[in-house]
Symmetry: C7
Subunit: 95 residues, 7 copies
């Protein structure tokens, strides 16, 4: 069972912050601010969206920086994901 | 008697959360948050919507994740439905 | 004397809820929530509306589900009507 | 001295409600809600308005139902008028 | 020294209300509501404004009724003027 | 070191009010309301801005009346400037 | 590891104000207002953005004045950056 986004939408899995403070204390998810990085897990087909032809440049597995503005949270199969339009992705992280 | 949506609109029947808590207690609909999953029950013909030609990609029976933003609740023949534009459907759930 | 709507507008006559409670009590219009169903009583000619060519698909006598958003209430010849653009009609009820 | 509206604008003279209550009492203008009916007194030439070509379908003397939304009140030569775009006219009253 | 408006803008000089009350008292500018009439004192060249070709139909000396919405007040050479787009002029007063 | 604006933007240097009150007192900049006049100090190249081709009609040294709406204040090289789109310039002052 | 912006977006590294007060006191970053100057560190490919073809005129290393409006703050690899559309860059600083 998997998600197939419509149009120019992409599904992201947000990365958890894995930080250790200087004193060695592991921060709980409550006290950490989630970073704006995520992994692309599904990409829509693009094509005509409104009156604009959108070509998808993202692909599954891309590590991206996204804008919280426009991100919609969904829960699917017990997991949390973000769905947004490709245009709300700010940048791809390249090695 | 059935609903025939106009333009790029679709009619959805929202799925009820069927969860059992660890203690075996069945949650009533009052205490459960409705999931954003629904079954498509009717699909508009698409075509020109405003100044955009919309091709419908959804079909009856599709299981979809939708955005609450843009969903309009209606009551028809004693049942509750959601009506929204195809563009407010985030993703189709594929097996 | 009748109403001839402009452009892509339609005139609707809202259906009154005719419900009887289980105890047989007839609900007064005060205590009933008006359903979102209406009968189309007049249809505009369509054509160019803004920069979009609109083809009217509704016709007099159609039973429709409408969105309260965008509905304008008018009083004409002692009767209450709703005027809205065809695009604010969600679906036609088919037998 | 008369008003010549620009573009797709029309000038309306609102109809006063002339009602007599059942007891024969003439309602003063203070206690009556003005109806949304008006007589068209001047019609703009239409043509390009923004990037849209507007064809005027209203003519002087037409009795119309208008939307309060978009209506601008002006006072000219001691009389009150309404100016609005043709698109804010909901319907023409036909005999 | 004079003002040369850009694009589809026009410069107006608002007419002062010259009223005498029934008792013969001249109203001061404080107590009078300024009418929405003005004289056109400068007209922009029109042409492409955004993605629309605007043809100027107003000319210097035209007496117009304007919408307060969109009117910008400026002070130039000790005098107060209004600047607005031609589209915010409601009507020209013809003799 | 100078500023080179992008697209249809222009850089303005606002004129200081140089007024003497009737009693001969020079007003400090605190108590004076800055006039909406400025000198154009840099002009962008124009060209495609969004989906519109913009031709720049302003040039360095032009004295202009501008709309506060849309004006962005910047500090550069110790001096304050305003940056705005050409369309937010209301008029050029001609001798 | 580096950032590759999408569409017409650019990544900026904001310049820190390096000021010494007259008394010789070095201002801490808390008490200083950050200037609106930044260095471009990454530039998107441009191309079709919405229904507009955007040509990128900025390049890495450009020193720019930007509008806070539209700037999105991100943290990447322990450093703070700003991401915005090329259109939110006001001007390039030329030597």
């Amino acid at each position: 069972m998997k998600l197939s986004p419509l149009g120019d939408k992409v599904v992201l899995k947000q990365l958890e912050a894995e930080e250790t403070t200087k004193s060695g204390l592991i921060l709980t998810s409550q006290s950490k601010e989630k970073p704006q990085e995520a992994i692309v897990v599904a990409v829509g087909p693009g094509g005509m969206v409104g009156d604009t032809k959108v070509e998808m440049v993202l692909k599954e597995g891309d590590r991206v920086i996204f804008s919280r503005y426009g991100a919609m949270e969904i829960k699917f199969d017990g997991e949390e994901y973000l769905v947004m339009r490709q245009n709300d992705i700010l940048a791809v992280v390249k090695d």
